[in-house]
């Protein structure tokens, strides 16, 4: 009888989950997605002024974007070292959210209602995955 109490909703609400993928690792993935999204935005900005090989190589925005991608890749590998692949990977969906939010501020692109629902879905989804980690 006592065993039954600790299952279901009770367990979800009151038990502290044993995380196999630590919070530190998850923060690292979040920073990784921030870097790769910034890289994407910089590439979108930088590619507008490209006309020829020299302008491609010497473009500071593209170079900065490349650095962002590189930092993102390093963070990704470190987070994979300490975290589970099945937890770390879904967190990359966060970059969809960052790109949407950055586009809203930089390119003044409005976010449609249906996209807000998508953002909500991704946030809920990664929360579930983070909770399920190490269970």
């Amino acid at each position: 009888m006592k065993k039954n109490v600790k299952t279901g909703l009770y367990k979800i609400l009151y038990s502290t989950p044993l995380h196999k993928t630590s919070l530190k690792t998850i923060f690292m993935v979040i920073f990784c997605t921030l870097f790769t999204s910034t890289g994407q935005i910089l590439w979108k900005f930088g590619s507008a002024s490209v006309n020829g090989v020299a302008s491609f190589i010497l473009n500071p925005l593209l170079l900065l974007g490349f650095v962002c991608y590189g930092l993102g890749a390093v963070l990704l590998i470190i987070s994979l070292k300490y975290g589970e692949l099945s937890v770390v990977y879904p967190f990359f969906a966060l970059s969809f959210i960052w790109v949407n939010i950055m586009s809203m501020y930089i390119f003044h692109e409005a976010i449609a209602t249906i996209h807000w629902f998508g953002i909500l879905g991704i946030l809920l989804g990664i929360s579930f995955i983070g909770y399920g980690s190490g269970k």
């Binding site: 196999k20 692949l85 099945s86 990977y89 998508g118 953002i119 991704i122 579930f128 909770y131």
Partner: protein, 118 residues
């Protein structure tokens, strides 16, 4: 015909991307950042890491080629197949525990990606 080709190339791109992630995970065990010559050669000698990066680039190139010919709202939901492949590979090869929370989470993330690309 175009649609079938798109779906086949996206499935290939997703499988390559999933295998790349698996290789990165396996190669990351030995990954240490050291700004010395040995530190750099150690990373270059880590074939799982290097192959993982190369496969990632191949997967991204296929994705970009497909993206040029098809609508975003069709490609992005297909690209979320990667989440399913990665979950299967994590359970099968890395022996990670997949529970109902992770399955609900993956489904919500995929739903979110589909909605965002509409």
């Amino acid at each position: 015909m175009m649609i079938a080709l798109t779906i086949i190339s996206m499935v290939i791109s997703c499988v390559i991307g999933a295998i790349a992630s698996l290789l990165l995970k396996r190669g990351s065990d030995k990954f240490i950042i050291k700004f010395t010559l040995k530190g750099i050669t150690d990373i270059l000698k880590n074939w799982k890491l290097i192959l993982g990066v190369i496969l990632y680039i191949i997967s991204a190139v296929i994705f970009i080629i497909v993206l040029k010919s098809q609508r975003l709202s069709f490609i992005y939901p297909l690209s979320s197949l990667t989440y399913i492949f990665i979950t299967i590979l994590s359970a099968w090869i890395l022996k990670e525990h997949i529970n109902r929370y992770k399955i609900i989470g993956i489904s919500l993330v995929i739903l979110g990606v589909v909605l965002i690309s509409l």
